[in-house]
């Protein structure tokens, strides 16, 4: 265990602590001298206070909306007789596939106040000059980000509900509790850690998001912390103030983590262990005719989050001329441009290599870290927990600069290689795997491992034959949760890429900044199709399913 702890500490130190130390130094530096001026400037400026407030408001709004979507859909697909459950399960993660800035762009095309297709249609239909919905607002930003983030809660909730021992609910109903009471008194409290974990993930992810705020918020002149920080990298760069502002984000995350721990402790006395080695029929509520309404609700969320933006991107990718719509005619030339462009093909290749590498390495490391957190009383695990979770709150841009500064000097000069980008992505996304695997391991009754050891199995055998098979779905969920955002990550990679290591996110963002919207749309559709294919091949070949673990 000591060797494992030391190894984990070294890995996290290299991945996370080393760039953060650089950031800390720069936040306390002005013109090369040690100084608190950055923090003084930050605390005395109303502009930064406003950014802090906007960030917190957006984070809370996104958390509330995304959690509502995620819990509703998670309950619907695991605990009701709603039709098309498997379809919803299979495709609910798709919003996560589309980078937030691409989704934001689709909603700008749809809900731009003057020229958005929906607003134009609304005005034509109702002979009015009014705007149906202006996406360039705080509400618009929060809604778009929620569509992107809700799968984080959905996956946590479905994983928890799928793994829930059905006998607990059966016992409640045998004792006379109604279905609603059972859900309220048994089901919800047991899946609370999963909901809290998902909500925390959404909050920290939302406040560190860069792409969507850059597209929507900046155009609306609404500043959040990530866009404020990114603005400091325009020459002359002000790394000190940028790093100081990033500490405000870390502060928000620390608050979120404290809230998470308090919420879990408030439920102390309750055991969250639900995988006990017993099997039984899952409790499925018969909603009668209401099941179609529930299905309608799920499909509406799915439509707004997935179908509508993807259809928009698909249609725009087919327009000959974007501003002219259907009247300009349809064409596949933009796809042909993507397929024949060395720039685009290189970007896609780089992104797939990076995403596979990040997901695999992070999942393995996160498994070890999660096991230490959940199963051991090792001293110093709090530090590991903090280091694992903290990077999520550091804006990708600042992490990118931290990694650039830390890994582009002296003997360990990795600049210009894919490895430097891999380091930044691993640092950014390891917490996804960690949170997911912690939730999975918390639901695994230690008695199973104890029983194995009592029967003479070594720790390794116990892990191989008991633990890993039971958390297989959690492990693979972690892999997917890391793989998907790694493909579209922009904020860190935009600081680290070179012409040879350009990832697809930078290629898309660059094209968007140029106004080549159709190429962005074609590229995003192409990449999405590729990812979905990979996912389904992976799933079919390895038998991944989001299903309860069987003994």
């Amino acid at each position: 265990m000591r060797l494992v702890m030391i190894t984990c500490s070294l890995v996290l130190g290299v991945l996370v602590a080393y760039p953060i130390i650089y950031l800390a130094i720069f936040s306390l530096t002005v013109d090369g001298q040690l100084s608190l001026d950055n923090y003084l400037h930050m605390f005395t400026s109303s502009r930064y206070a406003e950014s802090f407030l906007n960030t917190a408001v957006v984070g809370v709004l996104v958390t509330l909306i995304a959690s509502a979507f995620g819990i509703f859909m998670g309950w619907a697909v695991t605990r009701t007789n709603m039709p098309w459950k498997q379809f919803i399960r299979n495709f609910s993660f798709v919003p996560f596939l589309v980078p937030s800035y691409v989704g934001a762009m689709a909603y700008v095309f749809l809900f731009g106040p003057r020229a958005g297709y929906v607003n134009e249609g609304f005005r034509w239909l109702f002979h009015t000059e009014a705007t149906f919905f202006n996406v360039f607002s705080l509400t618009g930003l929060a809604l778009v980000m929620s569509f992107y983030c809700f799968p984080l809660v959905f996956l946590q909730v479905t994983s928890a509900l799928d793994s829930l021992d059905p006998s607990l609910e059966e016992a409640a109903q045998i004792s006379g509790a109604s279905r609603l009471r059972t859900v309220y008194r048994i089901t919800i409290p047991i899946i609370t850690p999963a909901i809290i974990n998902g909500a925390i993930l959404v909050f920290v992810f939302a406040i560190a998001l860069f792409g969507a705020p850059l597209i929507i918020a900046q155009a609306a002149r609404i500043w959040v912390l990530t866009t404020r920080i990114f603005a400091f990298f325009s020459p002359p760069p002000n790394f000190g103030l940028a790093s100081a502002l990033s500490t405000m984000l870390i502060f928000l995350v620390v608050l979120a983590l404290i809230g998470q721990q308090m919420a879990l402790r408030l439920g102390s006395g309750r055991a969250y262990t639900t995988i006990t080695g017993k099997v039984g029929a899952k409790q499925v509520s018969n909603l009668g005719g209401w099941r179609f309404l529930v299905l309608g609700g799920c499909l509406l969320i799915f439509f707004l989050a997935v179908i509508l933006p993807l259809m928009t991107m698909l249609v725009i990718s087919l327009f000959k001329i974007h501003g002219h719509g259907f009247s300009s005619g349809l064409t596949l030339e933009h796809y042909w441009q993507v397929l024949t462009s060395k720039f685009c093909l290189r970007a896609i290749k780089n992104s797939l290599i990076l995403a596979f590498g990040t997901a695999t390495l992070c999942s393995l490391i996160a498994l070890v870290l999660a096991y230490i957190e959940v199963r051991t009383k090792a001293p110093g695990k709090g530090v590991l927990r903090f280091l694992t979770t903290m990077p999520l709150a550091i804006p990708g841009t600042v992490m990118g600069v931290g990694v650039l500064l830390a890994w582009s000097r002296g003997f360990f000069n990795l600049y210009g290689t894919l490895i430097i980008i891999l380091i930044a992505l691993m640092a950014r996304f390891i917490t996804f795997g960690y949170q997911t695997l912690c939730a999975s391991l918390r639901q695994l009754d230690p008695a199973l491992e104890e029983a194995a050891r009592i029967s003479g199995a070594t720790w390794g055998q116990t892990m191989r034959k008991i633990v890993l098979p039971l958390i297989k779905d959690g492990f693979l969920s972690a892999w997917i949760l890391i793989f998907i955002p790694s493909v579209g990550e922009l904020a860190a990679t935009v600081m680290l890429f070179t012409s040879q290591t350009v990832p697809v996110s930078v290629a898309m963002f660059d094209s968007f900044s140029e106004g080549v919207f159709q190429q962005v749309a074609a590229l995003s559709i192409f990449v999405l199709v590729l990812i979905v294919l990979i996912f389904f091949v992976f799933r079919r070949f390895l038998g991944i399913r989001f299903a309860p673990a069987q003994s």
């Binding site: 990298f233 325009s234 020459p235 002359p236 760069p237 582009s408 900044s513 106004g515 080549v516």
Partner: protein, 350 residues
Amino acid sequence: MHLKDRPINLLTLCLTAMVLGLFAFTEAKAGLDPKLIEAAKKEGVVNWATGMTRPYSEALQKMFQDEFGIKVNLTRIGTEALLGRFMMEMESGVCEFDLLTTGKPPSGKYLEKKWVAKYDSPSLARMSPRTIKEVYHDPQGFWTPTLIDLQLISYNSKVIPEAEAPKNWTDLLDPKYKDKLAHADPRYSGTAMLTVAALSQFYGWDYYAKMGKNKPMITRGHGALVEIMITGERPVAAEMLLLTVAKPIKSGEPIKNVFPTDGTVPTPWQTFLSTSVKHPNAAKLFLEYFLSDEVQKYCAENWLLYPVIDGLPNPPEFPQLADIKLMPVDLDRAEKEEESIKNKFWENIE
């Protein structure tokens, strides 16, 4: 012995001479040093970074590659972001760029830190004194103007009738343009930054405070700005680069340009070599090719840019550069107060 039996017959000699002569004529016509071409071909590749929007930078990339068979690794980012990246990479000692073409010259810190290599282009002899003086040629030889771009006002003529279109910079402050304006972010776009520098010096920061009341949409770069203008989402571009509207205009989009009566801001594209250049001959050849008559004429015809080479035609249907009232940028102020200019823009526009 008959002619046909000679190892190298007269016909072959004539043909060879014609080909060589044509080759020499072509090279001479392009004004390019054959020795430079040969040395550049041996290097085989050049790493070029530019803030010029992608359709144009890719076009130039392709033209150079097709002409000489030398690979061009293109990096395209907005000028401000590009210069920031250049700065970081040079500080880290890992800069891979051979040469850069930016909408703002690399003055001040870049020269102090010796990041920019001196190069006296032989093409300078073909530029007019006015071009050299007004297009910011650096007499020390650190950068070379390659194309003259102009920052002016553009609007969507389908949405805004000509009678209601702005005629000068101050017209943009009229409340009738509320929610109709768009402006590129000077933190990302070097040319937008220079325009802000010029207008803030000419009219004071109150200009942007008043523009802020019209709630302009701020886009990252001019490429997105022109698309937003074309769709009608924001039909008036409060500042626009000629280069960026060239292709849409040629495609028949309803875009009209306004040369403001109070002065058009010249924002030339200048090219410079980095001191970390790894392919110096290929880099110099690229620059000289950029300044060749063929490319300069192509840019005027297709990109609506004014050539820097004297005697070459203007963009078609555009006034002579000498007849355009210019609002020049104080480069020293733009360089010294760069951070302040960007911050003040946002403070006033928000």
